[in-house]
């Protein structure tokens, strides 16, 4: 790979990208109970979780958890989520992660959740997912103070369902 620094164009990589956002490796969310992204660098201030046609086997809700070298933290979240249907909405609070209150097994969900460093080990999150059928829009927001420096993010579920469709990836910067 060639890399160029010059006086007029700042820093370019492969004659294109200017510095950069780092992409993770997309993971097929077609099985298992969680999709994990680890080894996130300590200098990261923003993480974007991306969902492409992700589905669960049942009526659980997606649950996003963050963690540090001690593992994923599963309590202490200040979170809320809501599912917006054709003419109604259902909202709920969540303390075990950031969630959407989504609940349709046959639905494919696409969109993103942005997790941003507020200060120290405190992170905030907001996101929107669109659904393919009765789950038209799903929103989430919240915050969480970790006991240490964030180094991992996991997408799991509120019950015992398994993933059965789609891809999940992260960007970090």
């Amino acid at each position: 790979m060639s890399t160029t620094i010059d006086g007029s164009a700042s820093v370019t990589i492969n004659s294109g990208a200017v510095l950069g956002i780092t992409s993770g490796t997309a993971v097929a969310s077609t099985s298992g109970a969680s999709i994990d992204f680890t080894s996130i660098p300590s200098w990261v201030k923003r993480i974007t979780l991306m969902f492409d046609g992700v589905s669960l086997s049942g009526s659980d809700s997606f649950l996003i958890q963050i963690g540090d070298s001690g593992g994923l933290e599963i309590t202490g979240y200040n979170g809320g989520g809501a599912r917006l249907a054709v003419s109604t909405f259902n909202a709920a609070t969540f303390t075990t992660g950031f969630s959407f209150n989504n609940a349709t097994a046959a639905c494919l969900y696409s969109g993103s959740v942005v997790i941003t460093n507020v200060t120290g080990n405190t992170w905030s999150a907001f996101g929107v997912l669109g659904g393919s059928s009765t789950e038209f829009s799903n929103i989430t927001g919240g915050s969480k103070t970790l006991s240490g420096t964030l180094d991992r993010v996991s997408v799991t579920r509120t019950g015992t369902n398994t993933f059965d469709a789609g891809n999940i990836n992260i960007l970090y910067e």
């Binding site: 990208a17 200017v18 780092t22 997309a26 200098w43």
Partner: protein, 199 residues
């Protein structure tokens, strides 16, 4: 113009502070010895959405991983859903295959699915949309989107938008239309639209 080509891990400056470091990505360390990855946001040219049936942004570079489509008081002459469509090559817009949901929240909720673009709900020709929808490259030529907007006009309302699309080639363009189909139909009559892109 002098050019410094880096073909291996390189540190420019002092090791402790005030340097640029390359090891596949670029990092900068400031005088407080705080080290972070470097990046830059590129702003497009704002387009007045006061006429025409589409607002197009082309020549988006292949290295872009994140594109923010910004709406400032955007209106059309119709109640149809606004749509963000992605284009490839020079330029073919993809007008089918989207998995998108959009909802509008006032005293009640209304939602719909859109398959011809990333949908942005609208209910009145007097609506003025302000806010942003961000597109993220998840992998290959597949993009996901999420956004929140406000409508000011006859009522004050919030709108959410999200979805995904797998393109047949690398993204090169973004288009905003108002339409009940995938083809440009409604005429823009207020506001402006611009993009930011970063990689």
């Amino acid at each position: 113009m002098s050019i410094l080509a880096l073909t291996s891990n390189t540190l420019i400056g002092t090791a402790a502070a005030g340097n640029i470091e390359y090891n596949g990505q670029f990092y900068g360390t400031d005088s407080a010895a705080a080290r972070a990855q470097l990046q830059r946001i590129t702003q497009g040219t704002a387009v007045a959405s006061t006429s025409g049936t589409s607002i197009d942004f082309t020549a988006i570079p292949a290295w872009a991983k994140k594109i923010t489509v910004m709406f400032s008081g955007v209106s059309t002459n119709s109640t149809n859903v606004k749509q963000i469509q992605l284009g490839t090559g020079s330029t073919t817009y993809t007008i089918a295959g989207y998995l998108s949901g959009t909802s509008i929240m006032a005293g009640t909720v209304a939602s719909l699915n859109v398959t011809t673009g990333i949908g942005v709900y609208s209910i009145s020709a007097s609506d003025n949309l302000s806010g942003a929808v961000t597109l993220f490259n998840i992998t290959g030529n597949t993009w996901v989107a999420s956004g929140t907007l406000a409508i000011t006009g006859a009522t004050n309302i919030s709108v959410v938008s999200s979805g995904s699309i797998a393109l047949g080639a690398a993204l090169t363009a973004v288009r905003v239309i108002g339409s009940s189909t995938g083809n440009p139909a409604d005429t823009f009559d207020a506001g402006s639209i611009n993009i930011l892109y970063e990689g």
